[in-house]
Each structure stands twice: as structure tokens, then as C-alpha cells.
């Protein structure tokens, strides 16, 4: 009878062992399942997270700036198809955004260009009208008003021009070659605080005609920046400096200066490394540097703003290469008066300043003397005895007027003496006429 319980015990033991083994196996399987489940859950979470980040961070960032790309993914997803798909989504999105932006930029530029061209035309027309009015009116009060209108109109014209340049147009007006000094003063004419701009040096250089307007516009933008970002009681100093292979316009302000980030951004815009997008100029739009960058790239001059001025503000340097420079045309100061002014120069007072080549009557009813050169016979002491003598002088009128104005003091004295003798002789001839 004792064998039965023993057998049962063995059976039980074996069963127990089997159960134990099964249990362990089961437990291990459960652990493995749990682990893989957790892994899967993590991956799901990571994917959710990544998809969320894509929707809320990466795509909006792309849409808004098109520059910043946050780094790709979670280590859990690297190399998976999911990551590759996401990357492709981002890529396509970026492409679509870029195309949309280019299209928007182009249509904005086209629309602006058309609108601004009309404004530019109006500004130019108005300037001509104002210039004519300045010629016509001769009262200080009227002049004051006209100068104000002129000033406002010039600034208006500059703004329109800047937008036009940004939209890819030409700066507009064609000018003749002008002295560098006048180019800077032309730029000065177009900014609000022109009285604060001081031109310190004068160089004998001129800017070739095709570059005049662009350089004026670029310098005007720099001057405007300088004046705008400095105290109203400070001056903006402009120096002109001839260099080995060109010339520099150096603009120093005593303003707040720029921080390194601003300088970097400005540098990118000025060198044309960064393209300009008219739809992204900000509000209020800041396009000074962008305009200068476009002009500098197109006409081949250089602009930098990365140095500090001795007054703590910004030093802007415009470098004009020799190709854009020429010599100042000899100003016609000598030639002009000889050619055009000589007939109008009166040794006797006259009512009308305009040249009167032939005799007529002045307002006072006096006969106007016809200019005869050089009245040589009268200068001979023996000749000035009769009123008829000037006839001899008249025949010699062919002598060049050019030489006539180069005469010295002694010559002048001789002429005046001759005139006096002539008049005296005239009076003596008929004493009843003497007043």
C-alpha cells in the first residue's frame, strides 16, 4: 500500500516540475512580449511626437523663414522608412513654399514696379515745375516755401526710386558726368536732415555719367541711415578720399552703431549674398541696405558698414573703382564768361542785363552802346581829339573778345581815359548840349 502514495508523489513531483518549467517559459515569453510592446509603444510615441513636431514646428518654420531647418529626428526613428517619408514631405513642402514665394515676389515686384514708375514720373515732373517756379519768383518768402516743397519732393522721389530699384528697374534719370563733390551734395539733397551732413573734403574727381544716379542713390540711403540713427544735434561727416584704384566716400556718424548681428546682416545685404524679397521687408519696410546692395552689384562699386566711426557710430565706406571715375571736366569758369558773358558786361550802367549785340534803347530812353572792341585808336593820345575818332575803333571791332577780357589794369585805365576824352570832345563840339 505504501507504493501507491510513493507513485503519486513522484507523479506530483514530475507534474510540479513540468508546471514550473512551463511557468518559467510563460513568464519569459510574457516578459519578451512586454518588452516588445513597450518598444512598439515608444516607437509609436516617437512617431506621434515627430509628426506633431513636423506639423507644429518644422513646417511653419519653413513657411515663415525658409532658412532654419530643425535637425531631423529622434534616434529611435533614424534610418527608418518613416523618417525618410517625413524628410520627403519636408522637402516637397519646402519646394512648394519656395515656388509660391518666388511667384508672390515676382508678382509683388511687377505690381510695385508699375505703380512706382508712375510716382517717379510725377516726382520728376514736379521737380521740373518747382525749378521753374524758383526761377520765376524772386521773393525770399516764396523761395522759402519753394525750397520746402522742393525738399519734400526730392525725398519722395528718392523713396520711389529706391522701391523701383528693388523691383529690378533702373534708377531712372540719366545724368551727365558730375564731380564727386556734387554727387555727394546731390545725395545730401535727398534726405530729410541734409543740414546735418557736412562735406569736409574736396577731390578733383568726377563720376561717369552712367554711375551718377546709382551712386547718388546709394550715398543718399547711407546718409539717411546715418542721420536717422544719430542724435539730431550731431553731424554726419562725409570725407572723400582718393585711393590707389578708385576713390572712397567715407560717411561717419555719431549714432548708436550696430551690433554684430546687424552688421552681419547688413554685410550680407550689401554684398548681394542675400537676395532681397520685397514681400519680406518688414513693417515699416527697411530697404536701405537692400537697395544699396542691388545697386552696388549692378554697377560695380562696393559698400561696407563694418567699421566703427571715430565718433562711436557707424562708418560707411563707398568704394568707387577707377572704372566709374573720370576727371572733373575743366569747369567753364574761364571759357564761359568770355564766350557768353562778354557782350553783356557793361562798362556803363544799363537797364537790361541781357546781351544786346546791337544798338537799341534802354528803359531810361538812352541809346545803348554797341559793344565795339577794342577801341584801339582812342588809346593813342593823339587820336582822341574829335568825336569822329571812334569810327576808326569801330572798324577794328573784329579783334577777339577773348583777349579783351584778359587785359591788365593799365589797359583798363587807358580805355577809361579814352572814353573820358571821347565824351569831353563830344561836349566841346557842341557846348549847348552840356547838361
Amino acid at each position: 500500500m505504501s507504493q501507491i502514495p510513493q507513485a503519486v508523489t513522484w507523479c506530483l513531483a514530475a507534474g510540479l516540475l513540468v508546471a514550473l518549467v512551463l511557468l518559467v517559459a510563460q513568464w519569459r515569453a510574457a516578459r519578451a512580449r512586454e518588452r516588445s510592446l513597450a518598444g512598439l509603444r515608444d516607437q509609436l510615441l516617437a512617431r506621434d511626437e515627430e509628426a506633431h513636431r513636423l506639423a507644429t514646428v518644422r513646417l511653419p518654420a519653413l513657411a515663415h523663414s525658409a532658412v532654419s531647418h530643425p535637425p531631423v529626428t529622434d534616434p529611435l526613428l533614424t534610418g527608418t522608412r518613416y523618417a525618410a517619408d517625413l524628410a520627403s514631405v519636408v522637402e516637397q513642402f519646402a519646394g512648394a513654399v519656395e515656388r509660391a514665394e518666388t511667384r508672390a515676389d515676382q508678382s509683388a515686384k511687377a505690381a510695385l514696379k508699375g505703380a512706382v514708375r508712375a510716382l517717379q514720373g510725377l516726382a520728376n515732373e514736379q521737380q521740373v515745375a518747382i525749378s521753374e517756379m524758383q526761377e520765376r519768383h524772386d521773393q525770399p518768402a516764396v523761395l522759402r516755401d519753394l525750397l520746402e516743397i522742393d525738399h519734400a519732393n526730392s525725398q519722395f522721389g528718392r523713396r520711389a526710386q529706391a522701391i523701383a530699384v528693388l523691383c529690378g528697374s533702373w534708377p531712372g534719370r540719366q545724368r551727365t558726368s558730375s564731380a564727386l563733390t556734387d554727387v555727394v551734395r546731390g545725395a545730401k539733397s535727398r534726405i530729410r536732415d541734409y543740414k546735418r551732413v557736412e562735406l569736409r573734403t574736396v577731390v578733383e574727381l568726377a563720376v561717369v555719367s552712367r554711375a551718377v544716379e546709382p551712386v547718388v542713390l546709394a550715398v543718399a540711403e547711407l546718409l539717411d541711415n546715418a542721420a536717422r540713427h544719430s542724435q539730431p544735434n550731431t553731424t554726419v561727416e562725409v570725407n572723400l578720399q582718393p585711393a590707389h584704384n578708385g576713390a572712397c566716400v567715407v560717411i561717419d556718424d555719431a549714432g548708436v552703431g550696430m551690433d554684430p548681428r546687424e552688421i552681419e546682416l547688413a554685410g550680407q545685404l550689401l554684398t548681394g549674398q542675400r537676395s532681397v524679397d520685397v514681400t519680406r521687408l518688414g513693417d515699416p519696410p527697411q530697404f536701405g541696405f537692400a537697395v544699396i546692395g542691388v545697386l552696388a552689384a549692378r554697377y560695380g562699386f562696393g559698400v561696407s558698414v563694418d567699421t566703427r566711426s571715430p565718433y562711436g557710430g557707424v562708418r560707411a565706406v563707398v568704394f568707387l573703382p577707377t572704372a566709374l571715375l573720370t576727371q572733373v571736366e575743366q569747369p567753364p569758369v574761364v571759357a564761359l564768361p568770355v564766350a557768353a558773358a562778354a557782350p553783356a558786361r557793361h562798362t556803363e550802367p544799363a537797364r537790361h542785363p541781357e546781351p544786346a549785340p546791337f544798338e537799341g534803347r534802354t528803359q531810361g530812353g538812352l541809346p545803348r552802346r554797341r559793344r565795339r572792341e577794342p577801341l584801339a585808336s582812342l588809346t593813342e593820345p593823339t587820336a582822341g581829339t574829335a568825336p569822329g575818332t571812334p569810327a576808326a575803333g569801330a572798324t577794328e571791332a573784329a579783334a577777339g573778345t577773348a583777349d579783351a577780357w584778359e587785359r591788365d589794369a593799365a589797359d583798363t585805365a587807358r580805355r577809361l581815359g579814352a572814353f573820358a576824352r571821347g565824351t569831353r570832345a563830344g561836349r566841346e563840339a557842341d557846348p549847348t548840349d552840356t547838361p
Binding site: V128, S131, Q134, R175, A206, V212, P367, T434
Partner: protein, 115 residues
């Protein structure tokens, strides 16, 4: 002016001033330069004005025309140059002090007769 007339605007030429320092100038005011005055400190327009007048007297109207500036602007510049001693002005001699027109007519007739 070397370059374009419209480039440098008149308010820059006068630095915003519109009233001459004296109000005795008119179209026919005769302007002469005082020789050998330093011109380094002058603006380009003022320098040209002095240059124009060194060769002899010129009326203000002519000076303004040669400079390509409105007369009123030229007056402002002239006022400054007279103040600084670079230029001298002379009002035209009044008609009353001149020989009568009849006398001059006679002179003219005489000249014509000789011609």
C-alpha cells in the same frame, strides 16, 4: 556747373537759407571780385561765383544764369560773399547822373556819320 543742374538742389546750395543777408541786390547789381581772397572755405557755387567775377564786373542776373541757379538763390550766396569780403557790389548809377539821352544820341549820330 560741370554736372547736371537738377542734381544739387538749391536748398543744399544755400544750406536751407532763403533770405539774403542784405536786401539791396537786384537784377542789375554789378558784382566784382576782390582779388586774392582765399577761396578754400567756400562752397563750389560760391567759388564759381568769385571766379566769374574776377574778370570784371558782371550783373547779378548774369551771375545767376551762369551758375544755373535761381536769382533768389544767387542773392543769398552773394550776400554771404559780400559779408565775407570776397565780392563787391555796386548799384547801377542812377539815370539822373548820366549825360542826357540827347547828348548820347548826338554822339551816336556823329559816329554813324563817320562810319
Amino acid at each position: 556747373m560741370g554736372g547736371d543742374r537738377g542734381l544739387v538742389r538749391p536748398y543744399v546750395v544755400t544750406n536751407g537759407r532763403f533770405e539774403p543777408t542784405r536786401n539791396t541786390f537786384d537784377l542789375v547789381t554789378l558784382v566784382t571780385a576782390v582779388p586774392d581772397r582765399p577761396v578754400r572755405t567756400l562752397s563750389p557755387e560760391q567759388r564759381r561765383m568769385v571766379d566769374l567775377c574776377t574778370h570784371g564786373a558782371l550783373s547779378l542776373a548774369e551771375v545767376a544764369a551762369h551758375l544755373g541757379l535761381p536769382l533768389s538763390v544767387a542773392k543769398v550766396l552773394l550776400g554771404d560773399l559780400v559779408d565775407s569780403g570776397h565780392l563787391l557790389t555796386r548799384a547801377p548809377i542812377p539815370a539822373a547822373q548820366l549825360p542826357t539821352s540827347q547828348l548820347l544820341q548826338e554822339v551816336l549820330d556823329g559816329l554813324r556819320a563817320r562810319l
